[in-house]
């Protein structure tokens, strides 16, 4: 039973990472109606920027907020420079561009900051909560909840948030009510990059900083977002914790699996869930008349 509790808590700790990233995934999905496959690499790159600033002598929180701002501007710029000319290109071509971005960020980070693993500081005190869960994980949990709340309010109560959703869902109609669709997309990219940066800076103290840190995690992030229902930020967070727990449990309790097949099992479980709940566990079914 103790092992069980321990596993749940470890699962939650990992889950906090996935939840954080899933939130960023859902955010950009709301804003651009796309999965952004490059999001993990963007977050990794942002984290490196923060690392460089801290290494250069800036205090943590200064570097933290500076990174958020830089990432926001960076995300905005990527949309305006790279994607704007491709607005009318087919979706599949966009995905190829995402893949191109992944390759570029990954390779650049390695070239600028080399491939050695770096430690990344945590803003929270050392130590753990009764020896069960680290204080950093607890802190991260609250940061994720805070982000969630902020995003919820943004979409629900602000004019821009609503316009962003409208622009993603129906660009033509959005233009007709006076929404500047192109800029909404750019804003969505900026916000997603900023949220991704927060996720990266929260995750890095746990997994360490290196150019490939996000590859595996992002997959869990996507999985979490989908399990939770891609249209719901709250679902994404719940999905993140769920994926974390499932992953851990499978690794511990199914002996044939061990750690090497953990990812496989988690994915298979997720797919099974989807077979029975095609809109994700928490997604709203959207009824549309044809």
């Amino acid at each position: 039973m103790d092992l069980f509790l321990q596993q749940i808590l470890t699962g939650i700790a990992n889950g906090a990472i996935y939840a954080c990233l899933a939130l960023a995934v859902v955010m950009i999905y709301q804003a651009i109606d796309h999965f952004n496959f490059a999001q993990g690499e963007m977050a990794m790159f942002s984290t490196y920027i923060c690392w460089a600033m801290i290494a250069g002598g800036l205090p943590y929180w200064v570097a933290f907020f500076a990174t958020i701002i830089i990432s926001f501007i960076g995300g905005l710029a990527i949309e305006r420079i790279i994607f704007k000319p491709l607005h009318s290109a087919p979706v599949l071509s966009h995905i190829v561009v995402f893949i191109g971005l992944v390759a570029i960020f990954n390779s650049l980070a390695g070239a600028i900051w080399d491939h050695n693993i770096k430690t990344f500081p945590s803003p929270f005190p050392d130590g753990s909560f009764g020896g069960l869960i680290g204080l950093h994980e607890v802190g991260m949990f609250f940061v994720t909840l805070l982000l969630l709340l902020a995003i919820f309010c943004f979409f629900k109560f602000t004019r821009v948030g609503m316009a962003m959703q409208a622009a993603a869902a129906n660009p033509a109609s959005a233009g007709l009510v006076g929404i500047r669709v192109g800029w909404m997309l750019a804003l969505g990219w900026g916000l997603a990059a900023a949220i991704g940066a927060v996720a990266g800076m929260m995750i890095a103290p746990i997994v360490f900083l290196e150019p490939n840190m996000m590859l595996g995690i992002l997959l869990y992030g996507f999985a979490a977002a989908i399990v939770g229902g891609i249209s719901s930020p709250g679902g994404a967070v719940a999905g993140g914790f769920l994926v974390g727990i499932i992953e851990n449990m499978a690794g511990t309790y199914i002996p044939a699996i061990g750690s090497e097949l953990k990812l496989t099992v988690a994915l298979v479980l997720i797919v099974t869930v989807l077979l029975f709940k095609p809109n994700g566990l928490f997604g709203k079914t959207i009824v549309t008349r044809v």
């Binding site: 979706v91 893949i99 496989t264």
Partner: protein, 335 residues
């Protein structure tokens, strides 16, 4: 949804059109004489390009013509390759027979996978196929199957000799011989795809892609067609995998990672979604461009590959086939 497949290549390019015999003849002639002018290594690379082209065409049948999305085709490629390798290695089957067999095994696997996948659309299907792509190499590596698959080490197999009369009369080398085999298989697979797409079945596949609800109401059994398309798509990819295993004379789990799925996907989009012959360009692209990037700069090769990818999409957002089609229309307009 974001992954809804859009096809911008003019459907007239491949559908309901007469076979452009002039172009086909030109293609066949160039393809057939090429190995006699190329270096041995280039011939070998040409063979790999054609193998990729077959796999990309398989993916294209699924995505471009049926609107289903897959990030798991590396799995079918692996199943084809391992089927061939295991049959040769453990059971001493004749190498040539294992090629169609690799395809058939994949057809069954693809069809069976397609059944549950029916319930999933767009992103969800992407995730499910992704799970498939990630798990297969891990399963191949798994210690439980080591006796069969050779584990991480993989399996070595050997190609039979070139038939002696060809060596004596034409001086055919091993690379040229297998180039020819791959070429013939590719032409055959393209021919099947062409006929499939121009048949009732092909129209049903595309109707499902464009408007699933309407297709159902026209009496098309969408579930059956979707699973079948999955099977056919896997069949193509499996044939390619089997061929690759034999030509390279080696299989190992790490040749079939998720990256291969991504490469095939890139090949499909760059070649032109919804175009048959575009697959050849796609195969050429995914074989040569990464090497080219590597040559420019080893440290930044990925970055260079990424930049090239983005530039290519700028120049031809609908792939090579789309670009050619656009140019053709421009030229037609001028006269």
């Amino acid at each position: 949804m974001a992954t809804d497949v859009e096809t911008r290549v003019d459907p007239r390019l491949t559908v309901g059109a007469k076979m452009p015999y002039k172009w086909v003849a030109l293609f066949v002639i160039i393809g057939a004489v090429l190995p006699f002018f190329l270096q041995g290594y280039a011939t070998f690379q040409g063979t790999l390009i054609m193998i990729y082209a077959i796999a990309i065409l398989g993916l294209n049948l699924l995505t471009g013509f049926n609107g289903q999305f897959s990030l798991g085709h590396s799995a079918f490629y692996a199943v084809g390759a391992y089927t061939a390798a295991i049959l040769v290695y453990h059971l001493d089957w004749p190498v040539y027979v294992t090629i169609p067999f690799g395809g058939i095994v994949c057809f069954v696997a693809g069809f069976l996978f397609g059944l549950p996948a029916l319930r999933l659309e767009g992103l969800y299907l992407a995730l499910a196929t992704f799970a498939l792509g990630v798990s297969v190499p891990q399963i191949l590596k798994s210690s439980h199957l080591e006796g069969l698959t050779g584990g991480v080490q993989g399996l070595d197999i050997f190609r039979p000799k070139v038939p002696s009369f060809l060596v004596e009369n034409f001086g055919l080398t091993m690379d040229q011989w297998w180039y020819m085999i791959a070429f013939v298989i590719m032409l055959f697979m393209f021919w099947i795809a062409w006929n499939l797409i121009n048949s009732r079945t092909g129209r049903a596949m595309m109707a499902i892609r464009d408007n699933p609800i309407a297709a159902r109401s026209m009496g098309i059994n969408a579930s059956l067609y979707k699973s079948l398309t999955f099977g056919v798509s896997a069949f193509y990819t499996g044939i390619a995998g089997a061929l690759a295993a034999i030509v390279i004379e080696f299989v190992a789990p790490d040749s079939f990672t998720f990256q291969l799925s991504i490469l095939l996907f890139i090949g499909m989009v760059v070649g032109g979604t919804g175009s048959i012959w575009g697959a050849v360009f796609g195969g050429f692209f995914i074989l040569t461009v990464p090497n080219f990037a590597e040559e420019i700069s080893t440290g930044l090769s990925y970055a260079i590959f990424g930049i090239i990818l983005i530039l290519v999409i700028y120049v031809m957002p609908s792939g090579f086939a789309g670009l050619v089609n656009l140019l053709r229309m421009r030229v037609k307009k001028m006269f």
